[in-house]
């Protein structure tokens, strides 16, 4: 285009609209969850106890902290503190990786116990428990995918910041990546109590 058009508010609004679509995407799984919970309250509580609450809690803290660091990164870039921005982005990505490593150990442990979608062992525990774990794997899996995408996005933006393409008066990319990252956090804020803390 010959005339460059710039509309930061528009770009942010577009990102918010995209986040709405993400929420609706996850809500499909939450609909299935809530219907199943109303059908199998006991079994869901029983199944929830099989999840490792320590993994869940640590991952919650990790994600909340990463949400803080990326929010700080936005302030840092607004103030023109490039070095701080890069450090904060780096910490966020590191925390994202920590989350995924944690998830890996958690899932390995569960799969080691014979709990995974379509397993024989799971089928023996009855329909309620099976349903719980199927939903858990699919929801957490989809969330994990989003963690991965978000971390990639932030890494790319960090590189662009280092190269001077994202600056203190042109930082929409960082802001939008941060918005995406907060969404990942938001999903986990609901996922955590619904799957790990059912009594």
């Amino acid at each position: 285009m010959s005339i460059e058009h710039r509309d930061d508010t528009g770009a942010r609004f577009g990102m918010w609209l995209f986040l709405y679509t993400e929420v609706i995407l996850f809500s499909g799984l939450f609909i299935l969850y809530s219907m199943a919970l109303s059908k199998f309250p006991q079994q869901f509580a029983e199944a929830s106890h099989k999840l490792n609450i320590y993994f869940g809690s640590i991952n919650t803290i990790v994600l909340l902290t990463s949400s803080l660091t990326i929010a700080l990164a936005v302030t840092a870039i607004q103030l023109g503190r490039i070095k701080q921005t890069l450090i904060l982005c780096g910490v966020t990505v590191a925390l994202a990786l920590l989350f995924l490593v944690n998830k890996y150990f958690e899932w390995s442990e569960e799969i080691g116990h014979g709990i995974y979608p379509g397993s024989e062992h799971l089928a023996e525990m009855g329909p309620g428990v099976t349903n719980f774990f199927n939903l858990y794997y699919f929801t957490a899996g989809l969330h994990g995918l989003h963690v991965f995408i978000g971390a990639t996005l932030i890494s790319v933006v960090a590189v662009m910041t280092a190269k001077g393409k994202v600056t203190s008066d042109r930082y929409t990319l960082l802001e939008n990546s941060a918005l995406y990252w907060h969404l990942v956090d938001l999903v986990w804020i609901f996922l955590f109590p619904l799957y790990y803390l059912i009594l």
């Binding site: 918010w16 929420v23 919650t60 902290t65 936005v74 607004q78 941060a178 804020i189 803390l197």
Partner: protein, 94 residues
Amino acid sequence: MSEHTHEPVPYRTFIWIWLALLTLTGITIAVSRINLGSLNIWVALGVASIKSSLVIFVFMHLRQESKLFKIGLLVMLTILAVFIGFTFFDVLYR
């Protein structure tokens, strides 16, 4: 607050919010260990809603955005509530 950019939010604000989020996480874990019957799920959802509004309004800068952003969010949440709520008309009364 200009049209295109926000005032930077001070670091301090974000750190306070982060502490509040950690506290609320502690609360939701603690409450979940007490048996309140069906109330448990509502407490869990309530705390999660408070946490997410903190994230949305402060971390995501919604506080500083124009009315359009807020109305958009409200529309989305209304539709979301309809999707989940109306499905219960079927499942609960089958």
